[in-house]
């Protein structure tokens, strides 16, 4: 069994906003092992990015209330001093952001930004040493002519190149966990694949764990081993990538997969959607947050609207689901939905 590098228990995050309290993340737990890639999927506002931010305590300290435990390298990130968490950031956990365009500080050269990330955790490194590290990193992430390009500024790079630099910054300290928050959303499709390949190559090299946050099922399918599906701030399904695509176990997942239209459908102008709207995180529907949109709600009845379903292992396999349907129905409907 591989080493558990990140352990999340009962993570809940809420924000005070002028419109009311936003319950962004509710009672999320999972473990992550070295070398593993975990995908977190969900639509906008499902809480996946907030979850990612919490892992490094990046959320607004004034408005956010975070409870639970996030243990990295033996330190509870949520309950330690500012100095301790700073020691973990960039060193044990690193992050790659969605938009490489805005993730780099436009006022400093890329070399300086990589060097800075290294120097935070290697205060006594010599100037030459740092420069060598920077050049190595740039080479590693596939930037040609690193010696000259390190003096250039972010705007002089293409989107894909910038994302490579962000990855270089993230990996310069060889972290145990890399959080990739929608790392390819802002990139062209061809570049997307390159970046994903790069991340996986580097993962193999360093045996780091990756959390890949995305709303793109295709991306998840390509790289992740396990998947968390989030809805309304909760994990509604936890499954291996194969199980999710072959036998999804939550009505929301069925909707998601169903929404992936076939080419023929697109050509005929049909676009499948999940009926209804995503929940407001200020007033999450009672019981199962998905029940107002769930086509099985009427069959199951009032339990759905009154009782929050627990995440439980479905008897037929390893997938876990948070749904009030019984296991048999889940398995059979899940398969039929995929076969449609």
């Amino acid at each position: 069994m591989a080493e558990v590098v990140l352990s999340v228990r009962n993570l809940s995050v809420s924000f005070n906003t002028p419109d009311g309290v936003v319950h962004a993340v509710n009672d999320v737990s999972f473990d992550l092992q070295a070398g593993e890639t975990l995908g977190i999927v969900g639509e906008s506002g499902s809480g996946k990015s907030v979850t990612a931010g919490s892992l490094m305590r990046l959320n607004n300290s004034v408005t956010a209330t975070t409870t639970g435990n996030v243990v990295v390298n033996g330190v509870d990130v949520l309950n330690c001093t500012e100095d301790e968490v700073r020691g973990i950031r960039g060193q044990d956990i690193a992050m790659v952001f969605q938009d490489p365009l805005s993730a780099l500080n436009p006022y400093y050269s890329v070399g300086a930004q990589i060097a800075e990330a290294y120097q935070v955790h290697h205060a006594d490194a010599s100037k030459d040493e740092v420069e060598q590290v920077v050049i190595d990193m740039l080479t590693k992430v596939g930037i040609p002519h690193p010696e000259t390009r390190l003096h250039q500024y972010p705007h002089q790079f293409s989107g894909g190149m910038r994302q490579r630099i962000v990855i270089a910054i993230a990996l310069v300290n060889k972290p145990k966990v890399l959080i990739a928050d929608e790392p390819t959303t802002a990139l062209d499709v061809t570049v997307q694949a390159q970046i994903l390949d790069l991340m996986m190559d580097l993962q193999r090299e360093t045996n780091m764990a990756i959390i890949l946050i995305t709303h793109d099922l295709g991306v998840v399918a390509e790289v992740a081993r396990d998947v968390l599906v989030m809805y309304g701030g909760r994990v509604v399904e936890k499954a291996s990538i194969n199980d999710l695509f072959v036998a999804p176990t939550h009505p929301y997942s069925w909707g998601l997969l169903g929404a992936v239209s076939s080419l023929e459908d697109l050509q005929r102008g049909h676009l499948k959607t999940i009926a209804g709207t995503p929940p407001s995180l200020i007033s999450i529907p009672s019981g199962c947050a998905f029940h107002p949109r769930c086509e099985f709600y009427e069959g199951v009845g009032s339990r759905c609207s009154s009782e929050v379903p627990e995440l439980r292992t479905i008897s037929s396999g390893q997938s876990m689901s948070a749904c009030h349907l019984d296991d048999v129905q889940i398995v059979s409907i899940g398969k039929s939905k995929v076969l449609q």
């Binding site: 700073r86 950031r89 952001f97 500080n105």
Partner: protein, 329 residues
């Protein structure tokens, strides 16, 4: 970069030409007969007519403009005999109400305005950026609200009102300072500071307001930027992030506005100078308005425009220095 500067300077010169032409045309529509101002109470029509010819006010506006432009480069002579006088280049004209070349007048008053502007500028940047930063770091708290109220009042209260209140309170009521009495900083530095501190403060308090707002909003915006999050994610110290990431990016747009404001200040600290009786360019120009002293009006407008345009060029260059995106395009 040099090409960029050269290009900007070239356009600046074109712009100044345009400004001077527009200024000339604008003031030529004034229903004031400049010649009538040359001979005081016992002006008689024939005398006015003679003076008009003598000064070239009888010529078409465009020709007058040409003479004006020429005067800047080669100087200009006016009149003849006992009433003759000449202004060496760069001549901006001759003031009849003050019996001096406009260039001389501006040369005398400009340092005062420059000291006033410089001091106020430094103070207001310190106050504005400082309070803006405090407000941003305490968003929603009382510090923020206070800075906000200060901003609102600052941008809206007329300078003369605040200036006189400050003057009377500090000098008469509290008796902290003697009445301002301008002296050159090289002759009497103490008197200079005593005379300047109140106008500096007044201008600073009133003008800092918009910088408080700019800094606050700029910093708040920057704090939401991904690159700041990345900085945090790198494990950088809060102070480092605030300085290198947040403040740095909030300051770039401020440079633009600060440059223009500074130039505008040089061109017209009219009210402040009147309230605090500082013998600067603002006071010179307001006097010119009152006396319909056209040459001085045109002169001060031109000088003000030169500074505004120069400031524009400077701001552009500074922008390039501060923002690599502009520099390396």
């Amino acid at each position: 970069m040099y090409l960029f500067i050269a290009r900007r300077l070239f356009f600046a010169v074109l712009l100044l030409l345009a400004v001077s032409l527009v200024t000339y045309l604008l003031f030529s529509v004034l229903p004031v007969d400049p010649a009538a101002l040359t001979c005081g109470k016992n002006c008689k029509p024939d005398l006015i007519a003679a003076n008009r010819v003598r000064l070239g006010y009888d010529k078409p506006v465009l020709e007058q403009y040409w003479l004006f432009l020429k005067g800047i480069f080669v100087g200009r002579d006016y009149g003849m005999g006992q009433a003759a006088f000449s202004c060496p280049a760069p001549s901006l004209g001759y003031s009849f109400s003050q019996h001096q070349c406009v260039t001389t007048l501006i040369g005398k008053t400009f340092p005062v305005t420059a000291y006033l502007s410089l001091g106020a500028f430094v103070l207001w940047m310190l106050i504005g950026i400082g309070s803006g930063a405090v407000a941003a770091l305490n968003k929603g708290k009382w510090q923020d609200r206070l800075a906000n109220a200060f901003t609102a009042v600052g941008v809206s209260l007329p300078t003369f009102y605040v200036g006189l209140l400050v003057l009377f309170s500090v000098v008469i009521w509290l008796g902290i300072l003697p009445f301002p009495h301008y002296a050159s900083p090289f002759e009497d530095p103490i008197a200079f500071f005593q005379a300047m501190i109140l106008p500096w403060l007044t201008l600073a308090v009133l003008s800092a307001a918009s910088y408080t707002r700019l800094t606050r909003n700029g910093m708040l915006e920057a704090m939401n930027e991904d690159f700041v999050r990345l900085g945090v994610a790198k494990g950088l110290k809060r102070s480092v992030i605030l300085r290198k990431y947040v403040l740095r990016s909030a300051l770039v747009p401020i440079v633009t506005i600060a440059g223009l404001d500074f130039a505008a200040l040089l061109g017209g600290a009219i009210i402040t100078e009147s309230v605090f009786t500082l013998p600067g360019m603002g006071k010179l120009s307001i006097r010119a308005v009152v006396e319909s002293d056209l040459p001085v009006l045109v002169g001060t407008t031109m000088v003000a425009a030169v500074f505004i345009v120069l400031a524009n060029v400077l701001v552009d260059i500074l922008y390039g220095v501060l923002d690599p995106r502009v520099r390396t395009k």
